[in-house]
């Protein structure tokens, strides 16, 4: 009897998710033993038609990382959904849009103008832009269509599970694969659809090693503006930390080195819009003796969009900036 088929695909992503999978070290070989890897662009042939050739649902498990940024990504999202029994949004980009989702402050035209014309190192007097179809002397070349709006996987296709994180932490990934391998071998039930796997159900504060006390801040600080203190909660020191609005699972690594959480594990259960939630939370802990002063302090928040929506703009309620 042939092994169940496994696929991993990256869309608009950095590759960190693949590296993260490597972090499971020798266990990767166990994946090899238990699955028949039919499709892993970094591991196997990328030709679409090999996937097209598969029967619907022939792939048992597909880990899809990266956001949906262009027509090629979207096509693959639909195709892999069709061919997979279990489609997992793997990593922050697939789950939330991730950092590529920040491109939703702009649109394709604006980005091209900047990258191919305005950038100081670019010399492009004839205003040459990459074309989706282009005739070279020898024939025709094509490029995928770049969308204006970056989307998370579940904004394009039906998703079974989510594994958040930028990237997901090695042990977490293994825990998930182990569960699935276990179910394959010994039977049993997979978690209910829509479950966030490889992460906790509380906020990052729960695993952050720092001591939490009542939070009343009188202004916003940068990490280097406060003396090094391994114990004190960063938020209490005025450093904007997304911990309270971020799902646990990473182990609180960033705060352990004195750097604030930026929310890569996405919102905890019950939070619909991570960035908006952070705004409500942060504003609430500003302490002053009058609402006017509170408003003054609140107005000094440096970059609400880029901080609160660092990884979640595409999945936010508004999804993108107006252009």
């Amino acid at each position: 009897m042939s092994k169940p088929k496994f696929a991993m695909y990256w869309a608009a992503a950095c590759g960190g998710c693949e590296i993260a999978v490597l972090q499971i070290k020798e266990k990767i070989l166990e994946v090899g033993e238990n699955f028949d890897i039919v499709f892993w662009p970094v591991a196997t042939d990328f030709k679409y038609k090999d996937v097209e050739a598969l029967a619907d649902g022939e792939i048992l498990l597909t880990l899809f990382n990266g956001a949906v940024r262009n027509s090629e990504n979207e096509y693959m999202a639909h195709l892999l959904r069709q061919k997979s029994q279990v489609l997992v949004a793997f990593g922050a980009c697939a789950a939330q849009g991730g950092i590529p989702g920040l491109a939703n402050v702009s649109n394709a035209a604006e980005i091209k103008e900047l990258v191919y014309i305005d950038n100081p190192s670019v010399l492009n007097p004839d205003r040459v832009f990459p074309q989706e179809r282009f005739e070279v002397p020898e024939g025709e070349l094509d490029l995928p269509h770049l969308y204006d709006t970056v989307r998370a996987l579940d904004q394009v296709e039906d998703v079974d599970y989510y594994i958040p994180g930028c990237p997901p932490e090695g042990p977490q990934i293994w825990a998930v694969l182990e569960t699935i391998i276990g179910v394959l071998k010994n039977g049993g039930d997979l978690p209910p659809k829509g479950t966030v796997l490889g992460a906790g159900t509380k906020s990052c504060c729960d695993e952050c090693s720092r001591v939490k006390e009542e939070k009343k801040i009188t202004g916003f600080k940068k990490p280097w503006e406060v003396p090094w203190d391994p114990e004190k909660c960063l938020l209490e020191q005025g450093i904007i930390c997304m911990g309270p609005v971020t799902r646990d699972g990473c182990g609180g690594r960033c705060t352990s080195v004195g750097m604030p959480c930026r929310g890569c594990y996405g919102p905890p259960p019950g939070v619909t819009d991570q960035g908006a939630k952070m705004l409500s939370t942060l504003a609430a802990i500003i302490d002053a003796d009058s609402p006017e002063k509170i408003a003054e302090i609140a107005a000094t928040v440096p970059d609400p969009l880029g901080t609160f929506y660092r990884f979640g703009l595409a999945k936010s309620m508004l999804r993108r900036a107006k252009v």
Binding site: L79, V105, L282, P291, M317, A321
Partner: protein
């Protein structure tokens, strides 16, 4: 309302103690103001989250009004101080999202200020009329062509 003039859709979040009663007073005093704002009652303006404001815009509101007790008069002592903190952050965020900050407004309206309520709503409706429709539903869904695999295959694997 004439069929082709833009009629703003506005959501108003009113605290139960001051603003909602202020709006009631405008009613009992038979003051007249435009019908574009639909009130939503919360116990305290401090309960109103950025998420609620975003939700309103995402679902098609052209403007959002948050109204609570005057500072010091809050029936939860300082619940509205939280609102006061959220407001400037929200404005800044909207600006970054390229949405006119004027589409969001915060007002302190007491239970005794029926006239202020009527004035605020009238002004706000006019301001939003000036700004024109936001049509966020269309904005975000503009590109949502929901291609099926077939259509895209053409685009990708020529």
């Amino acid at each position: 309302m004439s069929a082709n003039e833009f009629e703003p859709r506005i959501i108003g979040f009113l605290c139960r103690w001051c603003s909602y009663n202020g709006a009631d007073l405008a009613g009992t005093s038979r003051m007249k103001y435009p019908p574009n704002l639909i009130p939503i009652k919360t116990n305290c303006s401090g309960r109103v989250e950025a998420t609620h404001v975003m939700k309103a815009f995402a679902d098609g509101a052209d403007g959002v009004l948050i109204s609570g007790c005057h500072p010091g008069d809050c029936h939860y002592i300082n619940g509205n101080w939280r609102t006061a903190g959220r407001y400037p952050m929200l404005k800044k965020l909207l600006e970054q999202l390229n949405i006119e900050p004027g589409r969001l407004r915060l007002e302190w309206v007491s239970a005794a200020e029926g006239d202020k309520w009527a004035r605020v709503v009238t002004e706000f409706v006019e301001e939003i009329r000036e700004l024109g429709p936001l049509d966020w539903k269309d904005e975000v869904h503009a590109e949502y062509t929901d291609h099926d695999a077939g259509e895209l295959k053409e685009a990708v694997t020529a």
